[in-house]
Symmetry: C3
Subunit: 343 residues, 3 copies
């Protein structure tokens, strides 16, 4: 009777390690059903009256607004907290207490916090499901899922699949948690070829390399671009200044692996899709992904952020157990909407 392979209802979403391939495919199946709502072809009010506690103890405009918008698109309300300097945490309150109290104020919580492990600790005190919106250098599972979802969409558009994918990851592979999590998720698929391009000082941690090789995937490691890469995806990253001990240290690597129209043409093929977790640093001294590629049809960076809304909508619907009844609560959109050509 019940064809659902999983019940996410009531669960916390804390880590990509919670997901196997079947679970991911179910999330993406639901995410695809969110498209007409995000495109404003129609609305759903399935979560009308529900309250999201959007707790960004570490500020992050795009992730915060993406979660909030995803919840609004399902009909729910959002109560928001930004920053930590004035919170009770600064007065010595434990994460357990904060969780016990704030989980009484909402039906579900999305949370970002600068400290690794903090969201999981918070979740132990929460009486409602908690979605990890990033806990320091540790995890950012919704970003990893939206990246993988984007890869699947881009592959489909090119007539291919994630199985058999060749992905090049470029830049800061040491501190970039998004590439770490993405490697873990991709390792659940078949016959992936990872080409990792990074200076020695910013190379991928061995734990991730082990995950890749133990799953039987192909691994190519290099310190610079050379020749033509047969990659389906080129995943470019930002050198995260804020994770370095000094600006000097960070500046040594900023601008080292720039991608612009000329380099793209030289080293990649016309099929290669360009991704980036955003924000990209467009200042002259960094500029890791040049604006001269902005109109390139294979530039998927804004499709990534748009897909993020779909994936977060799916996770809300799943953890609140409404993924099968969204259609029953649809309403028309009354206002005139622009053609959002990108999504």
């Amino acid at each position: 009777m019940n064809a659902q392979p999983f019940t996410f209802a009531g669960q916390h979403i804390l880590s990509v390690n919670q997901f196997n391939r079947e679970a991911i495919e179910y999330v993406f199946h639901i995410a695809n059903q969110m498209r007409p709502y995000a495109l404003r072809e129609k609305r759903t009010e399935v979560l009308r009256g529900a309250i999201l506690g959007n707790l960004f103890f570490e500020p992050s405009t795009r992730t915060r607004v993406s979660f909030g918008t995803a919840f609004n698109l399902l009909g729910g309300e959002v109560r928001e907290t930004v920053g930590m300097s004035n919170s009770a945490l600064a007065k010595g309150e434990s994460l357990y207490d904060t969780a016990r109290v704030l989980s009484g104020y909402s039906d579900i919580i999305a949370m970002r916090h600068p400290q690794a492990g903090s969201v999981a600790e918070f979740a132990t005190g929460s009486r409602v499901p908690v979605l990890n919106g990033g806990d320091g250098a540790n995890e950012h599972p919704t970003q990893a899922l939206l990246d993988l979802f984007t890869i699947e969409k881009e592959c489909q558009a090119h007539g291919s699949t994630i199985d058999g994918l060749h992905i090049a990851m470029i830049g800061d592979l040491k501190y970039g948690r998004t590439v770490h999590s993405l490697c873990k998720l991709l390792s659940l698929y078949n016959n992936i070829h990872f080409t990792l391009i990074a200076p020695k000082e910013l190379s991928m941690p061995t734990g991730i390399l082990d995950t890749i090789t133990q799953a039987g995937h192909k691994l190519t490691i290099t310190e610079e671009f050379s020749g033509s890469l047969d990659a389906d995806i080129c995943y470019q990253t930002r050198v995260q200044e804020e994770r370095f001990t000094s600006q000097d240290e960070a500046d040594k690597f900023r601008g080292k692996f720039r991608l612009d129209q000329q380099i793209y043409t030289k080293h990649f093929q016309s099929k290669t899709v360009i991704m980036h977790p955003l924000p990209r640093d467009s200042r002259a001294e960094a500029n890791e992904l040049d604006n001269d590629l902005n109109l390139h049809p294979n530039l998927a960076i804004f499709r990534q952020t748009d897909n993020g809304v779909l994936v977060r909508m799916a996770l809300f619907a799943l953890t609140l157990g409404v993924e099968t009844i969204m259609q029953q609560h649809e309403r028309p959109v009354l206002w005139q909407t622009p053609t959002k050509s990108i999504l």
Copy 2:
């Protein structure tokens, strides 16, 4: 025809001094009706389209979110302002002007401000009802009401009533505005026994002591725990560092009246309910209420914050005059909710 003992509609809620026993009982009567909405057994949309101006010129995450959530739970929308550094008040605007302008942007206002008397001053310029969410060292009436509401619930669970209550108040009784207001409210009842345990430097102001004794209640004042206390309620407080002139001054008293499992067992009885206005300071140097009591069934601290939502919902419904029509606008809850066992 009209059985309502009071009309709160259109009134400001600025001080506990506005309430007599009959008024309190009516607020609590309405607060009890909010329980099924807070427990998500059903929803009400009685305030759909109404706008709360949630003005926290002094930040306070839990009080701010509690007000906002309470309004959302009645179906309303929330427009929020946090902090004061960038507001017009910093550019020399009077509270009167701020009130005239901002009261044109909402149907009701909840306001916190660091300065004593500011909320009442604001209210004189406001064209909509104002609920005091705390004005410096002065008043925080919704906290006092939720404390009293919790005491009533806890008494009921133990087969007793507020009349005849024995309450022990511990710690910083000088600067803790919550205990001041709670004493005033309890003084409206019959035969209360107040046991006040505090160092001389942090003792209860004489004005409050006068209120208690003039109302004919029993008063025991001591500087330390001793023997076994026959208290129904043990109300523990945080030493509010921020109200002292120096950290040294504050540190002298932090950690002086710790309550943990051992002290509780030694000085209290198995019936004694533990309360605390929260946040509690869980750092080693303070730790006024130890985590080893977290699972104790008589620890009511999280029931207090949950009850705060009910009381604030009641005050919104009353001041907007919808307390008798909430049931007519009920809707089902469509999502799966966890069992919120605490409330």
Copy 3:
């Protein structure tokens, strides 16, 4: 078939230069229809499910809340961002990228930013309509429109029209962008008499003077009050300290053109309506508009801010193309509302 003189649907509102007289009159026609919703005689849910991205990279409590409230009053939801210190813009993200990403999170955007030209630049990357909520010293078109709308309402109440108006503008006419924009809009009407009263150092820019004279209006420039002014409107301004290079520089002019009951009686007529863009600086050293005029029936300053909600509602309805169907989605107001006598 379609009697609408304009289609604003899908357009950005960036500058007063976009408006001719016919366009203004259509905006005001729609703004007038918003009055019963703002007065809470009834509600409309025409924008139910729509999301406003309220992006205040430069904080401004009243403008931000006014936009948010206007959107709520039409039934929509608001996702808000305040300040810039933690945003991706601070990490080197271009306004184009920010716009591409954030426009995927909402149906329409209201934006304030400290840098002149930034909102227009942002709009080039946005996939949804953008309303300029102030870009530094450049433009603040919704303020200019609400000022003009107020002038029209006040004229109507006195049996006159904007055509033939005599307006006195007083104080800081150099840095006050509101008076600049208002002059441009008034210049679209007939036979306006502008009396500009300002110290030489704070006089109206020549570009604005040219606009006025080229349109054939009457211009009187003076450095101080003298005699009795036959003005319909006295538009007072605040000396904007934050635009001066030093506090000393600003202080030289603060308090120079105070208006109080005595000065008003001496220099103006009983018909003269007093306006001010607010906030007014009520500190003793400034006090450009004294509180002794607070109850004067011709003090229109709070009618201005109330009218701002109507004008912003109109602009939202127009840019989202719902201005003709608002009445079809009306609902009753269930709560008790105070008589908002001002509006």
